[in-house]
Symmetry: C2
Subunit: 357 residues, 2 copies
Amino acid sequence: MSVRKPTLAVVGATGAVGTVMLSILSERADIWGEIRLLASKRSAGKKLKVRGEDVVVQELTAEAFHGVDVAMFDVPDEISAQWAPIAAAAGAVAVDNSGAFRMDPDVPLIVPEVNPDAARNRPRGIIANPNCTTLTMMDGMGALHAKFTLTELVVASYQAASGAGQAGVDRLYDELAVVGGRRDLGVRAGDVRAALVDKLGDAPSPFPAPLALNVVPWAGSLKDDGWASEELKVRNESRKILGIPDLKVSATCVRVPVITTHSLAVHATFASPVTVAQAHEVLSAAPNVVVIDDPATLQFPTPADSVGADPTFVGRVRQALDFPNTLDLFVCGDNLRKGAALNTAHIAEMIAAELTA
Amino acid sequence: MSVRKPTLAVVGATGAVGTVMLSILSERADIWGEIRLLASKRSAGKKLKVRGEDVVVQELTAEAFHGVDVAMFDVPDEISAQWAPIAAAAGAVAVDNSGAFRMDPDVPLIVPEVNPDAARNRPRGIIANPNCTTLTMMDGMGALHAKFTLTELVVASYQAASGAGQAGVDRLYDELAVVGGRRDLGVRAGDVRAALVDKLGDAPSPFPAPLALNVVPWAGSLKDDGWASEELKVRNESRKILGIPDLKVSATCVRVPVITTHSLAVHATFASPVTVAQAHEVLSAAPNVVVIDDPATLQFPTPADSVGADPTFVGRVRQALDFPNTLDLFVCGDNLRKGAALNTAHIAEMIAAELTA
């Protein structure tokens, strides 16, 4: 039996996530027929390598979605808000990695290993890909929830520079080039700040404070009552993905001087008792989760050892001493792969399988 | 009225904390008569500057405590365990910054702004100074507890390299010299590790993984059930200092590439309702606490802007959305000053005031 392979459009192929996306599309099985690259007029005409071949970037227009089965969007919220409905109207399933549609009740928010069935109900023809910080823990938390019923999450993040895009990566490298080799910095208030101004001038940074030799307790934009948007995404998206509308969540989001891979310290409370051994068993069996957890030999996940890999890594699993039915643990996940491009690719492949079934 | 000024001995004056201690002793009012410096035989005979004058380091012997009123110890646990009782037997009050005596029921564990009265009951003649991670939040938590009655703490730390002593500082500088200027690292699993081995060989590190371009979810030694000693110190010392034996505490301790100043993301639950405005009011009035908290103008504490200062800094105060009577907040404190030498100096000065009263 010969089935026409579906056509994929990638909107925003030239950004930090888009670049990883093209690499993932090139690595994976031959799922797609045509892969069409769409971008702003400014980038149209550029050639990018996909599956070993040059593909010319086309301008993003309504007509460009003609014949497209699945359209991935790795663009800012306002571009997605405008163009994903246009792609859907043209007959494509839009898979959107922006924040524009995640909390829309008519748009499913999907982690294929956790809530794949929810993707079938998509009245707007749009499926949303979760925020990268939330995604770091969803595979692990989804597996534990299925067995022990999650009721509360207290999360502190250690977020990488690339969560702020290529500008974040460039800025951290620039800052590290300034502080590297200096043994006089990080010892007086403001000395790092002064050294960066001295060498980098007023070059713009996506971070509201120095990131080299520092951590910055802020990610996203200001929302009500002092919350950062990233912290509310962790709460609201976890509730929607896990299907627990009354899940109690508090998150504090902090940027750290790591290029790529977000980490989370998670304090998770369940309705049922759970031991470390039971958690290890459930997590080890979960798709896309790798357990690295042997404190006796100092084995635990770190971002520098997790970056570039597909799975999320869980370690430091401990039974809370004073909180019933509660685990404390540490999770690492590549925020450009599982946290963005890889999860989007998985969703798109689910749709491709559905279309060709 | 002329009163003899008390004699102070500083044991371990040549370490990372000891160096800061001599600087603090030199900055502060003329509280002490003689300041005697004691160290191992190896360091005896060295000259160190205190209050602008050269002081010759003497060998640590029982006789060296003759005439000493207060003896500070900034040495490893086993040295303190051996020598603090000898100092006490010689008539000195020993103020110990190691972990040797902190949980001894006959040794008070003191933060002068929080539980000064407990210092008067010291049957062994020893007073313990808390762990630096615990100290980061004690001034703030003590003030909030006095008003709202603390019941639960969930803590994630962002701990500086100098928490592991001068070897930690040296190692992080060495690692940053290797990664600074390289724009190819932090993007593939193990690339930072390989670059460090390439340039630094098998030079020993106090950290169980690379710290540059990384975070490391481990601090201290392995205790029962996968807990790190640092995490249990946060729990047990918070309970003892605040006088809440049944305080519920979970901590995850993580080292970050910062030279000095620990930060904590704290999720704190109280018996009474508490608003952000009330918390700001209480924290602003608390001794040794500075509130930096205006998210609209991106004002919050960071370690690079807090290092070298005496107070602890609190910001990002939010009322938890789903947990009653609960605040989420972020605290920074210099782990060598308030987290170690400064708190020890404050305790010693309390005793000096008591002796000369």
